[in-house]
Structure formats: C-alpha cells, structure tokens
C-alpha cells in the first residue's frame, strides 16, 4: 500500500515474503535473532548455515543481493568496535601477521561480527519486504503497548511535516543573510531548534484537538485488522525453526 510513502529501506514487490502478514514476519525475525544469539560462537559452520538460510529468504523475496549488502553498511560502526576487540582484550595472545592479538578478543570480535551481521541482515530483509505502515499494524497486533505504536505512527506522519518546517526556517534564516560559520552562530541555531520544538508542540496540541473532535478517547480505533492463517504462520516460522535446529546441532556438536 501507500505508493510513494514507502521508506527508503522498503522495496516494493509481490513476492510470497511480501505477502506475509506483518506480525508473522516480526515474530519470525525476532525468534531468528534470539536463536542466532544463543548459538555457541565456536560453531562457525552454524553461522554459515544461518547466512545461507537468510540468503534463501532474500531469494524468495526477490531482494537483489547488491541492494541487501548495501543496506548492511549501517553496521559499520559496530564492525569498527568488533575489530578493536582483539587489540584491547586481555588474556592469552597469539601472533597474526606479526601483530600480537588476544585469543579471547578474536573470539569476541568474531562473536559480535557474526551475530550482529546476521541480526542486521535479517532486519534489513524485514524492512525491505514490509512497509512501515504494515510494521506498525504488526506491532499493534503483537500487543505492543498502544501508546508506543501511536507515537511511532505519528512520527511517520509528521516526520516530513516537521522536516519541511525546519527547511522553511533555514530558508528564512538564510534569506536574511544568516550563515552558519562557526561557534558564534550556534546561538541562532539553538534558538531555531527551540522555535521548531515549540511549533511542533503546538501542532501536537492542534492535532489532539482535531482527534478529540472526531471522537478520540485515548485509544486508536482498529481500522485494518491484520490476521494470519495457520499456513502463513507455518511459512513465516520456517526460518526460525530451521535456525533452531541448526542451533541445537551446534550445541550438541561443540
């Protein structure tokens, strides 16, 4: 739904994965991540199996590998942290390419890197196959506190409005000869931020007024009920269940 409204992570498509009800996908990804995290780090082959599983989901969802890999870049800061670990960790040390590295740290880095990447990859897949709006419906269906879902939904609706307001304020500033050159101008920027806050706050009050006028009494009416059939649940949960089998194998073999 929502042509054009799609966030940048979303990729329009008509694959079986796209068609799954959002709450089944959310549950699947959540369980998958839990399973991945609870796998022993020594079972390296298990992580390869997980990656393979995700790749097959991506294939089924018609998500091109390049698109997927590019979205993974969000993980870079964590990778940097993981790469630091072997240098700073304590304990037994080993020589790699002439550098003295901590064995403990190497395992830690691998652990963070493998589990993190798999988690991010699964989330990126979820985002690529599920529209933001549907995600909210899914969260609502999974009984997330309604207040949180409402806040998230207003963020989606008013993000653009507030950004636009910010842009207009910037243009107004610059039209009157303002240039942010250094620390001296921070005061002006801070005041703009304050003004933006107050404007948004007042808009919030007006929106609330409009909601109350149309019968809002504290909870959002359910307009689109997300429902899933047994088959859809089974299909969605194939991913975490297969992963669970791999995980159990990993525990028994290591």
């Amino acid at each position: 739904m929502g042509a054009g409204h799609a966030h940048r992570l979303y990729r329009q498509g008509h694959s079986p994965v796209h068609a799954l009800p959002p709450h089944t996908k959310l549950t699947a990804v959540f369980c998958f991540v839990v399973v991945v995290v609870s796998t022993p780090r020594e079972a390296m082959w298990a992580f390869a199996a997980y990656a393979l599983l995700l790749a097959s989901v991506a294939y089924a969802a018609h998500v091109p590998p390049l698109f997927w890999l590019k979205r993974l870049l969000i993980e870079v800061p964590f990778v940097a942290f993981a790469l630091l670990l072997p240098f700073v960790a304590e304990g037994e040390r080993t020589e790699v390419l002439g550098m003295s590295l901590s064995v403990h740290g190497l395992w830690g880095a691998w652990n963070v890197l493998a589990k993190g990447t798999l988690g991010v990859a699964a989330s990126v897949l979820l985002a690529a196959t599920t529209d933001l709006r549907e995600l909210l419906l899914g969260l609502q269906r999974l009984k997330l506190p309604p207040l949180l879902v409402q806040i998230a939904s207003f963020m989606i609706r008013y993000g653009d409005v507030v950004t636009d307001e910010m842009r207009r304020m910037k243009i107004a500033r610059e039209s009157r000869g303002f240039e942010a050159r250094g620390v001296r101008q921070w005061g002006v920027l801070a005041k703009s931020a304050g003004a933006l806050f107050i404007r948004s706050y007042e808009r919030g009050e007006r929106v609330h007024l409009a909601m109350v006028s149309r019968g809002y009494a504290g909870s959002m009416p359910v307009i689109d009920e997300a429902t899933a059939t047994r088959a859809q649940w089974t299909y969605a949960l194939t991913l975490p269940l297969t992963a669970l089998a791999v995980c159990l194998l990993g525990w028994t073999l290591s």
Partner: protein, 276 residues
C-alpha cells in the same frame, strides 16, 4: 447508527446557541453572550475580524471548550459531558490547517478514523469511507499518504474526514485560506453539492457571499448582525464598524447569489484571504 437523530422533530434547529459567554483561564473574556440559531439545511457564514472570538465559538460547538454561561444545543441535544461522543459525531469541524486534521498515515485510514472511533468496522466502514471520499472527489487517493497531496487536495480530504461521520452540521474554519482560485472554486462546488447544514467561519467575504445566503457578524464576543449575506456586505457602516473590508473592486451589489440559494454564482473576484 442510532435512533436519536431521526427522532428529533423535523423543524428543529441544527444548532442553537443561547447566552454563550466564555473567559479563558487567563482571564481574557472572548465571548459575551452569543445567541444564534441555524436551521437544518442552512448554509451560514460567520464573519468577524481577527480576535472576534470566532474560533472560541467553534470550539464550544462540540464541547472542546465548555461554556462559562449559556447553552449550546445540537439537533436538540445539549452539549455537555453526558452526550459528548454523540455531539462530536454530529458536529464535524474542519480545522484551518489540514496538516492538523489529517494525522493518520494514509487518506483512507484518516477518513475512517471518526466512524471507527464510533465503533464502525468492516465493509460498512469501508463503504462509508468510499462515499465520503467520493463526495469530495478524492476516491482515487485513498491509499496515498496525506503529505503527498497538494494543499487543495488535503483540504478536501479534511472535509471528507468529517463527512464520513455523517454530521448534523459541518463547521469549516477558514475553508478558503491558502487555496488557489481553482481549488477554491472546487471546494465551493463540493460544499454546494452537500446536503448538510454548514457553518462557515471566514473573513473571505466574497466566498461567504458565494456560498452562504445568510451571514452572522461576530464582533467583540457578541453577534453584531444577522441577515442575508448580500445585505450585510452592502451595509458600509456595519462593515466599517466591525473591521470587515471587501477586497478591492468588489461590489456585493453586483453579485446575485447571496439571496437565492440555487442561483448561478458569479465569480468575479477572487482575492484569497487567509491568515498564516
């Protein structure tokens, strides 16, 4: 949805306000005893300069503000805590900024909000949404997010969100503000096609003349004049004493339309008024 609406006597007023007075908590008194009555099916303009108390009056109509003194009755139902949900369904307010009015992620969900809040579900809800969007000519935009529409389209959707509740009376706050002449005319066509009581708050006087046979002037918290729109606009003394000014070159006497509801409307002038 409920039998109360149909049970009201046919000659009853859509809206009746008697002796309404209100002071804001900071002590500023905005209304000093407002009396007005609007019959079912009428289209009435509420005119007045900035700060006359127009918005304050509007917020009383569906009980957002509650009267310090006086009463407001909607289709025979007193506005008060007891019937609040019913009142809010009967009084449809279209606020000035459609970005405030349209708060849901898609047009369809926004239009569905009012009836869904009243407990409507399923195909009935879907039909109601489709009908309301059809009335304002926005049916094909149902799945679009509101912020991707033009301002005129958003204003029309805002009207639809209220129509979906099938209100007794439609209250529009500055409906023509910020609209280009074409959108302005489209909105006028839509409003004229609706079979519903309309109270239009505005200081766009030609627009009031075009759409509303009758007008009220609210000034300094009281109804200062009540009569046929054309006559009020032609009364220069009245206009001047209440800070109401016609756009340059506009002569209300040259326009026929205020008196006769069904007359074709002359669109000579099109200065767009609006705050913000």
């Amino acid at each position: 949805m409920d039998p109360v609406v149909t049970a009201a006597p046919p000659a009853s007023a859509s809206l009746e306000v008697t002796g309404l007075a209100y002071a804001y908590p900071d002590g500023h008194q905005a209304l000093f005893g407002v009396d007005l009555r609007i019959d079912r099916g009428e289209r009435v303009a509420l005119l007045g300069p900035n700060g006359a108390g127009k918005t304050t009056l509007v917020l009383h109509l569906n009980g957002i503000l509650t009267a310090g003194a006086g009463t407001v009755t909607v289709a025979g139902l007193p506005v008060g805590k007891r019937h609040m949900a019913e009142i809010r369904r009967k009084v449809g307010i279209v606020f000035q900024d459609p970005d405030d009015q349209l708060f849901m992620p898609t047009v369809r969900e926004d239009v569905a909000f009012g009836p869904a809040a009243a407990g409507m579900r399923g195909p009935e809800l879907e039909a109601r949404v489709r009908k309301a969007l059809g009335q304002v000519g926005m049916a094909e935009y149902a799945d679009r997010p509101p912020h991707h529409l033009s301002f005129g389209q958003r204003r029309r959707v805002a009207v639809a969100t209220v129509l979906a509740m099938e209100p007794e009376i439609l209250v529009l706050d500055e409906p023509s503000s910020n609209l280009d002449p074409a959108s302005r005319r489209e909105l006028a066509d839509i409003l004229r096609s609706l079979d519903v009581t309309v109270l239009m708050v505005t200081h766009d006087l030609p627009y009031a003349l075009e759409l509303c046979p009758r007008a009220l002037v609210l000034s300094e918290g009281v109804i200062a004049a009540d009569g046929p729109t054309g006559e009020l606009l032609a009364d220069e003394d009245l206009m001047a004493s209440h800070r109401l000014e016609l756009p340059f070159g506009f002569d209300p006497k040259s326009v026929r339309g205020g008196e006769v509801v069904e007359s074709s409307v002359a669109g000579g002038c099109c200065a767009v008024h609006g705050e913000r």
